[in-house]
Symmetry: C2
Subunit: 457 residues, 2 copies
């Protein structure tokens, strides 16, 4: 067979030891926090039926699904008068963790105790055009609770964000909005179908100024009366409580249009309750109401979250919100849920950028027994084993080799201690261990694990 | 949109909290042992180029690959005079972890320090017919070292098997064979192309008796002189050392055929060295030479391993061997490696069968704060947070609800402690915690974490 130059599909990655240690550090940190809040891990298959996936991510999303050719003779018995692809592909790769989660909840509803708190850390696949920071295979890290409308759930998500980034040492800001408030704005502006346009306008005020925003609104087909209301919204200022009071007045009919919005008032009540709970819970990260936050607007029905690193420019590293009918499409209506997703790749980049990975992650092995001959090799094998039983990562160089080669091996693998033994040590029943960075060297009884452990720590 | 009854593709599985806790226990145990031996974790993409995968698993294996439809318009510009599938599918799902590992080593050879000790725990996909215990998606858990021919590597694999199953509490037997010895048998039987037939014959002696074995050999086209040699091999008995000596005599020309086998002698030397090292390392599990072990015969070139549970009938739970030219097909010849693979699904079944999973895995959350009203809810939030910071898994029931409902929730989630507080506790600044199995109940100062932790442990 011809020799192949090996490569991997574009947009995919290999992870070596160093990246794995760092990625595991992130995932383990996140997982440990999720667990203290009683969230349970689940896993779903990489492949889902296309009937589960199609139509859930919009037309664009459907195009980005990786489809799997039916096994066996995929083309056997296909009807030439019908589209081919649906006949030859019944399965696709998971596009996100949300739809499989909804499918899971419906499929296993009789085994689940609600409220169901789950987390899931698995790769997803998207046939997106690969570019810097955008991959075709990447991990998502989702935490959701379904079956409770209480704002305590929103609070716990905020607490978990606070705890995770606290442990990772990353200063973050948490931005919160509420979809019902945005809906309320559109309602009192007399343009209930223009939620997105209005939110985008609110977001642009700082950049382009009031006049340009008003022009843009007019271009979007919002009537003069509506634009007057938007101007009132854009002029909101003051403390959180002052803004809340001003918005309440607008929603109660006090805006230029005189229209009331029950939905807007409901959104304000949710925001107020959530911010009160956040205060009770002594959340460390700054949390702010951000009326321009429009993330996943077609999807979320209540709280909307976004988290940004304060000391590193990279966009959102975490986000989510409340959705009211995720499981409806699979036949289980009326379940409200709220969740957030941690962006592992961006968090990785932030930790690299701010140099926040613990130095210990770079070490794979603590001690290398260099080997000069067959007798020395046999001599150190039981010592290595005893140390491993104490949890120390130990390597025995597998064959006698030049010391230079063995030192190089230790150096390349970042191994901080080396042990070189010969007939002197064997006769004395000792092992000789050297700290490669300090140069300190000591002999130990080969059975005195406590002393060796103390030297290695 | 029509409501869909949700399902997953046949041969795939969802894993709920209980299964995840158990699977993580197995993987964490295996991982912790691998780490103490200096093995480094890597991950490769789920999708590989089909050019990497095809032709590596035999004709049958090629058919079992899951192929991924090219994204975009897969049928655009295809040549109708050529086979369609290779034109519409360039990628496939990983079929095992061995070929991606070989690809990885070649692709990253300049970054790797050899001997390269790696492990990899990831799912693989095979379009096999699903049946009990056989899935289309399952995890493999492989550990390999590449770039060293020393038998110390074989020893370390045996030590790791011993340590993993020791930690899991499963008594196992480790069976070892050597491909070179089997080749030697075929050589001295004058039938160097009949290695598999001869190995199968050796395996059948106990079941069908000598005469039937000889008949079968004749049917397989082995000449009378060769059968006489096989009879000599089948009559091998005695201790390991006695068998070794007898085989050495056969390979040195002392068999009925008078043929010598250098390869056979090399295999014996390897076996002898490995068993000597195993003795030095004080391996606890029984290790035996098993000349009938024919696992992966087309593939392995030296040691062959198989591990069986002694107290549960399920077949091999772990296996592997040495291969000499894994990376050759990708352009890096001459690297010898040895590895084993742990069968996670079977190990899971053994642990269930022998009831060896720790009881603590069944608990997800330690303490539930039941909630009777909004004030009590706010009262317990900071207490819950303080306990979580100590690493305790705590849930706060997210909204006031009937106590019966909250107790049911605790019961279904196996939560062992519940805390119910009202105005009395709020005024006193205490929390009241009940051990649901013993019935013991105690009040604690809401800030005395040490006392609460002691009660929960």
């Amino acid at each position: 067979m011809a020799i192949q130059k090996p490569s991997i599909p574009k947009g995919t990655r290999d992870f070596g030891q160093k990246e794995m240690a760092r990625r595991n550090y992130i995932f383990d940190t996140i997982r440990s926090v999720f667990r203290t809040y009683g969230y349970q891990q689940i896993e779903t298959p990489a492949m889902e039926n296309l009937s589960t996936l199609l139509g859930k991510y919009g037309e664009e999303g459907d195009k980005l699904l990786f489809r799997i050719l039916n096994s066996g003779d995929a083309f056997a018995g296909i009807d030439p008068d019908k589209p081919v692809v649906p006949q030859i592909c019944e399965k696709g790769l998971r596009y996100d963790l949300t739809v499989p989660f909804a499918r899971y909840v419906v499929q296993h509803q009789s085994d689940i105790s609600f409220p169901f708190k789950r987390f899931q850390i698995q790769p997803v696949w998207r046939a997106d055009r690969p570019q810097k920071g955008r991959y075709r295979e990447f991990y998502q890290c989702d935490v959701d609770v379904i079956g409770s409308t209480s704002q305590v759930n929103e609070l716990e998500l905020v607490e978990m964000v606070d705890a995770v980034f606290g442990k990772l040492g990353v200063r973050v800001g948490i931005h919160i909005n509420n979809r019902k408030v945005l809906t309320g704005f559109a309602e009192i502006a007399g343009a209930p179908d223009k939620v997105v346009d209005i939110t985008v306008a609110i977001d642009k005020l700082d950049k382009i100024g009031l006049e340009k925003v008003k022009e843009e609104m007019a271009d979007k087909g919002i009537a003069a009366g509506g634009i007057a209301v938007i101007e009132q919204i854009l002029s909101l200022s003051g403390s959180f409580q002052e803004k809340l009071a001003a918005m309440r007045a607008l929603f109660e009919g006090g805006s230029a249009s005189g229209i009331c919005s029950e939905t807007g008032l409901k959104g304000l009540a949710e925001l107020e309750e959530l911010f009160g709970l956040i205060e009770t819970a002594l959340v460390q990260a700054p949390v702010e109401m951000d009326l321009s936050l429009a993330r996943g607007l077609n999807y979320y029905t209540g709280a909307i979250f976004e988290v940004k690193a304060l000391d590193w420019e990279i966009g959102s590293i975490c986000g989510g919100g409340r959705y009211d009918n995720l499981t409806g499409i699979f036949g289980l209506p009326g379940l409200s849920g709220v969740g957030i997703s941690f962006g592992a790749d961006r968090i990785y980049d932030v930790l690299v950028g701010l140099d926040l990975f613990p130095a210990s992650l770079a070490e794979s092995t603590t001690l290398l027994f260099a080997v000069m001959g067959a007798d020395e090799l046999r001599y150190v094998i039981p010592v290595a084993k005893a140390l491993r039983e104490q949890g120390v990562a130990v390597e025995v160089y597998p064959e006698p080799a030049k010391l230079k080669k063995q030192f190089d091996y230790a150096d390349k693998k970042n191994i901080p201690f080396i042990s070189i033994n010969g007939s002197t040590e064997m006769e004395a029943g000792t092992v000789n261990i050297k700290n490669l960075s300090s140069g300190e060297q000591k002999a130990f009884s080969a059975t005195d694990m406590a002393a060796i452990l103390a030297f290695l720590n």
